[in-house]
């Protein structure tokens, strides 16, 4: 087993004027290389916070996080992140948006263009390079965000509810495409979601979070054969189990 992503006793406290907010406490977790891990939990249980810390965009208050053997102390070239609200630059064309992460690395313009076209093709965006983000549908914007994250061939792809704002059909389509890409690129994926079905369709493994402070309440292996549908074997049994785990917290507060 390859200890690819490691969280050791990770905790996060946000200082605040009235009372500090303890967003996460004692997160221990080891992810394998190439694994597709979903972080599942209700609003406010610290999923985004954990992802931001893995991306090096937030500091940890206690414990450590390491990716590919390096402790995370700031943004790292081993990771790339996709945000829920896509985070596209409205003044850049699709092409320029996709090139941005490479530009930040100092990749030469010619190579940037070639790599960008390659990933635009992979995400089904060929021909849209000259458009501005506001001229695209929500699903297409999300694809641009994913294409941009992939261009630097990150070892770990961090996704914060990337399909949360999409309709069911578009969402299903993008989920399939993401799985395709994941199989081709063999990157490790950490994927935050609210949706039990989405987690079951995508993940090798689901971390269920419970709130106040955020902790990992359960770590569930999903062994369903791929490609999956909601009709696959144990899907509904697992869904019921997860509903219990996520819902049980509701009675606490």
């Amino acid at each position: 087993m390859n200890r690819f992503i490691e969280c050791n006793g990770v905790g996060k406290i946000f200082p605040s004027k009235n009372e500090p907010v303890e967003a996460l406490r004692g997160i221990d977790f080891v992810g394998e290389e190439g694994e597709f891990v979903c972080l599942l939990g209700r609003s406010g249980c610290g999923k985004s916070t954990l992802l931001m810390m893995m991306a090096g965009l937030e500091t940890v208050t206690s414990g450590q996080i390491a990716v590919a053997g390096h402790e995370i102390k700031g943004p790292s070239s081993d990771t790339a992140i996709v945000f829920q609200d896509h985070g596209l630059f409205p003044w850049m064309t699709v092409q320029k948006n996709v090139e941005f992460n490479m530009k930040a690395r100092g990749v030469a313009a010619k190579e940037r263009r070639a790599t960008a076209s390659q990933f635009l093709e992979m995400t089904g965006l060929t021909g849209f390079g000259d458009r501005y983000p506001h001229e695209l549908s929500g699903g297409m914007r999300q694809r641009v965000g994913i294409a941009r994250a992939l261009t630097t061939r990150p070892k770990a792809l961090l996704m914060d509810e990337p399909f949360g704002a999409l309709d069911a059909q578009t969402r299903g389509k993008l989920q399939d495409e993401l799985l395709d890409i994941w199989e081709k690129q063999k990157t490790t994926v950490l994927f935050v979601t609210h949706s039990i079905d989405e987690a079951l369709l995508l993940a090798d493994r689901i971390l269920v979070f419970s709130p106040r402070p955020g902790r990992i309440a359960a770590d569930i292996k999903v062994d369903l054969p791929r490609p999956r549908t909601s009709q696959s074997g144990d899907f509904s049994a697992l869904a019921r189990e997860l509903r219990g785990l996520v819902g049980a917290d509701r009675e606490i507060d």
């Binding site: 965009l57 790339a80 992140i81 985070g87 630059f89 003044w91 930040a104």
Partner: protein, 253 residues
């Protein structure tokens, strides 16, 4: 569209008609209130005077506002981005910007004498504050996700400034430029009434001394027309530079 815009001249047309009627009714003697036709003749007979003086005024505004742009925009980008700089400058900016440039005319004459210099300095000051404040405001309005995307990509501070902070602030910078040009134009005319011996302000003052009321009217008309043209020009440039914004912002119905 452009044709419909000309509807905005309707109140002016009504004023012209009222003016003509007033002359017919001899409300004021003709030496004070000339016929519109006589004012029009100024542009045939005295066009050289009008042109030279308009040119002198325009040159001053262009020079002064260019200077304020070159200083206010970089400074505003820095102040908007770095909290410490903001703390160190905020109150001073608020104090300086509430001093009308016209109030500084006596000082400007003391320091720079009579001529181009005091006028340009006053226009520079008139344009500096709106540009500075709107630039800072534009930087503050940047979506936080976009900065996170850039940080996660490990973009250098220079790249963040050039590719993210500046374009994000541009619409607001142009709002500042419109205000600056407007305020610079007011200032040039006012300072020419007092501190300079050429330009449209000086022309109308001189016309008053020689009892040529038609030249006063013509001068006022030119001042208004150039003000409108300058504003339209800035709007055009803005529409072009910020064309990525089309369809993003609400327009009045």
């Amino acid at each position: 569209m452009q044709f419909k815009r000309a509807l905005g001249l309707l109140p002016l047309a009504l004023l012209l008609i009222a003016w003509d009627i007033a002359v017919e009714l001899k409300v004021y003697p003709e030496i004070l209130l000339p016929r519109p036709m006589k004012v029009l003749m100024v542009f045939v007979e005295d066009w050289q005077t009008v042109l030279d003086n308009a040119g002198a005024s325009i040159m001053r505004v262009v020079t002064g506002i260019t200077l304020s742009f070159l200083i206010a925009v970089p400074l505003g980008l820095m102040i908007g981005r770095y909290k410490l700089l903001d703390l160190m400058t905020d109150w001073s900016i608020q104090i300086f910007r509430s001093i009308p440039p016209i109030a500084l005319i006596p000082l400007a004459i003391l320091f720079f004498g009579i001529g181009d210099k005091p006028a340009i300095v006053l226009i520079f000051l008139a344009g500096l504050w709106p540009l500075l404040i709107n630039t800072i405001f534009g930087v503050r309005g940047i979506e936080r996700t976009l900065i996170k995307v850039a940080r996660a990509a490990r973009a250098s501070e220079g790249l963040i400034m050039r590719d993210i902070v500046l374009p994000a602030a541009l619409p607001s910078i142009f709002t500042g430029l419109r205000l600056a040009v407007g305020s610079g134009w007011l200032t040039v005319v006012t300072s020419e009434l007092i501190a300079v011996k050429s330009g449209l302000g000086y022309m109308i003052l001189n016309a008053q001394l020689s009892f040529r009321s038609e030249l006063i009217f013509a001068g006022i008309f030119v001042i208004g027309a150039i003000g409108l043209a300058a504003d339209q020009l800035v709007r055009r440039v803005r529409a072009y530079v910020c064309r990525w914004q089309e369809g993003l912002t609400a327009s009045p119905e």
